[in-house]
């Protein structure tokens, strides 16, 4: 009876609510759900988990009473006269809560519905049920009266209601037009539903179980009437029984967590219902984890602004960010159809914040920005990794500055004048970290010979530098690798024991450089980087990268011990810092599409978006005082350009361009269509467009995870792509005209798919064996790993089948040079292009006749080369206007060899921004 130790009603309330929420959560993700819901309270978690575990073991023990309780299953029979007035016609419906009869009111001579709750009603009539008598809206099922009837089995209470003839919205949906909500009828129905819910809310009632099955559509004289059913009479079901507390697909995340129903949870359900009307499906798979519901998926193609944003707002995990009332939803729907409010808005560029603006504009109360953000540096080239000194008077940062392609540490006062260069030696420098007294700066020197690679310390006003400790050489720093403890005696360093190992966090003595390893990331992961000391120096937050572009935040004690996972949604975050109180971690993540700032309690919990600042933040620092936050903001506008290869002299054109990233182009086999990846919807999704770039259509709805590398099948009917909805990257196949995707891989990470000419196989790069190799897997088999074949042994990335089908061309790996051809039958490997640069693995393409690749000349100009496969004749076919984007798929050539699609960064860079008034 150890649960008896904490028997306060408040504790019971909390524990049992969480227990109930956990029990109603699907088993597979239940533990993760509990962990999330307990927000880092380990004691609470163990109490809840114990109850959940026990309930599984008890398996219904004692739940069924020894003397079966009499439930009022079917108290009346057809033909019976009830209350001397209502003739029972038939059972019209049954649910967990009660039985509904169609009856004929002999007194008023009309049809009505009669509902008996299963549980005894008289004493259980909720205040809301009483209130339901007050609602008289035309779009709400009218409740007339509460009656009591004596039956042979005792007194039974029932309510008489309006009998609504028609069909439910859910029954109607499959027969409705595809974009129903965009039609006059659909929008009218939506308006009526909003009107009905508004009336219910106005009576002080929360519906609690709003869903398409609870909306009746009745048609008379050609006009449709939507009627909300079944409100306000829901009982709390017995706790251990399996009776649902609402319908999972419509439940707001906070309800899953055990919070009480509110107007906002009804609005969430309304959002789901409108979503169904907009595109004939639910926003989340019915079995989706609770945690997968925290980020609303992008609205499917064909839904226009502002509806798109409205839906996303209604589905926001944070109830405070949802529309405040159904009236606001209705107003937004109206304006959407009148198109007055959104005339000037570019489609696709609207975020929830913008929808918020819409809603505020409807309310007439525009929100004022909480923070003031201004540029701190906007030098040519990229500036990264800002770091506040302890007294917040200076910021150290990294800048390309004087030496293109090499980075140095600079210091500039927060006031903005007096730039000072700290490093000037060979190589690049990164991860500046201040000593607590502000007199010194530690940094990492990299891209140098091994014996020079390491952690150095220099005076913050210039002066002699000294080496503290060596470290494994790296060529590029993608993340902060260093921090200095508030007490000054320790540094935290992300380093590894060999280039094959993942990075771990080490605690390094500032005095003699001796080190203790603090974390043990899984093998084959990129490992742990981005360490940051808590203000009390007792903990470190860091990022653990398990797969490309997928990481989570962890916290580890500086005294050692296991690391605690802080975020659990397998998204990508690029920077993290503690607030001065140490209670929260601010981090930058693309979990809602683009990199934005989020906050999460250091004790654990659900991350919340910080609106109005920090977009594109890739590094950040928070001052210990003065409410200052600095971040570096990376901006990139990559577009797909078309180059003519026919020698016609036609100038290159930006074929597919938006203000966001457009990348990973691929020509359909008949060259009439182009698939590409774009963030124009706010999230990474696959799009298709006509060959001239027109008619762009979104194909996927992946909900924010990196989704890219679309590749057409040879018959043009399907597109394979890679996506990371739950962490590991997997290959999916989707009909080219849209439809549900099928996942064809599940083991390890799988990226860069392409098709065999006969459509039977998908080639891909997979790390399932521990290293990146080329595999092929059946194209038509869900999770067909068992039938997959490994084709390369020496490393492989980005495969394409040779025109004769007997070999596969491929790059070597993420940072290896060369293009290769491996014979499928024998496994024999030949070098094809030895000098394809590292990081250019996505800068080549194959047609039936030629192999194309991007090559840099001595002056660092990029050209497109091609080699005739038959003759081996090689020549340059186009001078490229800009350098290729490294580490991306950026080239596709039409099968007729007339056009090349090439991705170029038309504008990119990084500035440091200073946020004042940050709390």
């Amino acid at each position: 009876m150890d649960a008896g130790q904490s028997n306060s009603p408040e504790r019971d309330e909390l524990v049992v609510n969480l227990f109930l929420a956990a029990m109603s959560h699907p088993e597979p993700g239940r533990d993760a759900f509990m962990r999330d819901a307990c927000e880092g309270d380990e004691g609470l978690l163990s109490l809840v988990r114990r109850r959940v575990d026990w309930e599984g073991r008890l398996n219904g023990f004692l739940l069924k009473p020894l003397v079966a309780r009499d439930r009022l299953d079917h108290p009346f029979t057809p033909g019976q006269l009830v209350g001397n007035r209502f003739r029972i016609v038939r059972v019209a419906g049954e649910g967990g809560m009660g039985v509904v009869y169609e009856a004929f009111d002999e007194k008023l001579r009309h049809r009505m519905a009669l509902k008996c709750p299963r549980l005894e009603f008289r004493k259980r009539l909720s205040p809301e049920a009483l209130k339901s008598l007050l609602v008289t809206d035309v779009n709400v099922c009218r409740v007339f009266e509460i009656h009591t009837e004596m039956t042979p089995r005792g007194e039974i209470d029932f309510i008489t209601m309006e009998y609504v003839e028609g069909e439910t919205l859910s029954a109607r949906l499959p027969h409705a037009p595809l974009r129903w909500l965009a039609t006059a009828e659909g929008s009218e129905i939506a308006r009526q539903i909003c009107s009905g819910i508004s009336a219910i809310h106005a009576a002080g009632i929360i519906h609690r179980d709003l869903k398409s099955g609870n909306v009746m559509l009745s048609t008379s004289a050609g006009s449709v009437r939507a009627v909300i059913m079944d409100f306000g009479i829901a009982h709390a079901a017995d706790v251990f029984s399996s009776e649902a507390r609402g319908t999972p697909s419509y439940l707001a995340p906070e309800i899953w967590k055990g919070a009480p129903a509110t107007v906002q949870s009804d609005i969430y359900a309304l959002g789901v219902l409108l979503w169904e009307m907009a595109c004939q499906r639910l926003p989340f798979a019915e079995n989706a984890e609770w945690t997968d519901r925290l980020v609303a998926p992008p609205a499917p193609s064909g839904i226009r602004e502002p509806l798109r944003t409205l839906l996303q707002c209604c589905l926001d995990a944070n109830p405070d960010r949802r529309p405040r009332s159904v009236g606001e939803v209705a107003a937004a729907l109206e304006t959407g159809h009148s198109r007055r409010w959104f005339a000037g808005l570019a489609a696709g560029a609207v975020t929830c914040g913008a929808a918020g603006a819409l809603l505020w504009s409807v309310r007439g109360k525009p929100e004022t920005a909480r923070f003031s953000t201004r540029p701190f540096t906007s030098f040519p080239g990229g500036e990264y990794e800002p770091a506040f000194s302890a007294n917040a008077d200076r910021i150290a940062f990294v800048w390309e500055g004087a030496r293109e392609g090499k980075f140095d540490i600079y210091v500039q006062p927060v006031t903005g004048t007096g730039l000072l260069r700290i490093t000037s030696a060979q190589g690049s420098h990164g991860s500046p970290a201040w000593s607590p007294d502000g007199s010194e700066i530690a940094f990492v020197r990299y891209a140098v010979p091994e014996d020079e690679s390491g952690v150095y310390i220099a005076g913050s006003s210039g002066g002699q530098e000294r080496k503290l400790t060596g470290m494994q050489p790296v060529h590029e720093l993608y993340d902060r690798h260093l921090d200095w403890s508030p007490s000054g005696d320790l540094l935290a360093l992300a380093d590894r024991s060999s280039s094959e190992e993942p990075f771990s966090i080490y605690s390094v003595s500032a005095r003699d450089g001796s080190r203790v390893r603090l974390t043990n990331p899984p093998a084959n992961s990129r490992g742990d980087t981005g360490p940051a000391f808590s203000p009390d120096g007792r903990s470190l937050v860091f990022r653990r990268t398990v797969s490309s572009s997928v990481n989570d935040l962890y916290i580890v004690s500086t005294a050692g011990g296991p690391a605690r996972r802080l975020t659990t949604d397998n998204r990508f975050s690029s920077a993290s810092a503690w607030t001065p109180s140490g209670r929260e971690i601010i981090f930058s993540s693309n979990r809602a599409g683009r990199l934005q700032l989020w906050r999460v309690a250091a004790a654990g919990g659900v991350p919340a978006l910080i609106p109005n600042t920090g977009e594109g933040a890739n590094f950040l620092s928070i001052a210990k005082r003065g409410s200052l936050l600095a971040y570096s903001q990376w901006y990139s506008d990559t577009n797909v350009w078309r180059y003519s290869l026919s020698g016609s002299g036609e100038a290159p054109v930006a074929l597919i361009s938006s203000t966001r990233e457009d990348i990973n182009p691929h020509y359909s086999p008949d060259s009439t269509r182009i698939a590409f990846r774009s963030t124009r919807s706010g999230q990474n999704e696959i799009w298709t467009a006509d060959a001239d770039g027109g008619n762009p259509r979104i194909l996927t709805s992946s909900g924010g995870s990196l989704t890219g590398t679309p590749r057409w099948s040879a018959d043009g009917r399907h597109i394979a792509y890679d996506s990371r909805p739950s962490g590991a990257s997997q290959i999916y196949v989707i009909p080219a005209t849209g439809g549900p995707p099928v996942r064809v891989t599940s083991a390890g990470d799988n990226v860069t798919p392409s098709w065999s000419a006969d459509g039977k196989w998908i080639y891909l790069a997979s790390n399932r064996s521990g290293t990146w190799q080329i595999w092929r897997t059946p194209a038509d088999m869900q999770d067909g790993d068992g039938k997959a074949q490994q084709l390369t042994r020496n490393g492989g990335f980005v495969p394409f089948e040779s025109p004769d089908g007997g070999s596969v061309y491929h790059a070597r790996g993420l940072s290896s040079a060369g293009l290769f051809r491996t014979e499928i039958a024998s496994g024999r490997e030949d070098v094809v292009v030895p000098d394809l640069e590292p990081g250019f693995w996505g800068q080549w393409a194959l047609s039936r006749r030629y192999l194309y690749w991007v090559r840099m000349d001595e002056n660092r100009r990029a050209s497109l080369y091609r080699r005739e496969l038959a003759s081996g004749e090689t020549r340059s076919v186009a001078l490229l206007l800009k350098l290729p984007i490294k580490d991306e798929n950026g080239l596709s050539v039409s099968m007729d060899d007339r056009w090349a699609l090439y991705v170029q960064g038309d504008q990119s860079g990084s500035d440091i921004m200073l946020v004042e008034g940050f709390r």
Binding site: M1, V15, V16, L58, G60, K64, P65, V67, A68, D70
Partner: protein, 198 residues
Amino acid sequence: MEPNAHEVTVLLERVNSGDREAENRLYEIVMPHLRRLAQHLLSGERPDHTLQGTELVNRMYVRLAGAELSLRDRAHFFAIAARAMRRELIDYARSRPRADILPLDGLPEQVLETHDKLDLALTIDELLDRMRESLPLECSIVELKFFFGMTDEETADVLGLQLRSMQARWQDARIWLFERAEAQQWMPASRTRPNATS
């Protein structure tokens, strides 16, 4: 013979102040009424045109105690009534071992297959006697829920508990019983042999 309302009231007050003797006396008073009720329930008759045990006890309570009493009195009364109901049901089952009145559906299947239903009921009955010593509240919850068939809300209501607290104690009680029943291989302690195998 009907006890008078005053006597019941006085007894309840004494029960409230922890008088076990008063509790036993009250139990004796209530028992015959409960027995009649239980027999009706089990024989399929329909006393007062209803099967609602809760309602019946409420009526009995009003009849015996005569007036609306405090919540606490009511809790004690119901607890005692539920205990009486348990006694009656067990006695009934003992006297008619073949009657299939014990739907012990929630027990592990292999236990149901290998054990006599009466044995299982007796096991739980015995364990409840032990439970009353250390956990009287939990014991009452089991009696109200399992032997009386009350809903969670009713049980919380008559015991004057918050719903969630009642639910927590209810699960605690089930765990307590389950652990001990397993330990004695789902056999009444009186018949559990140290080396018994199932």
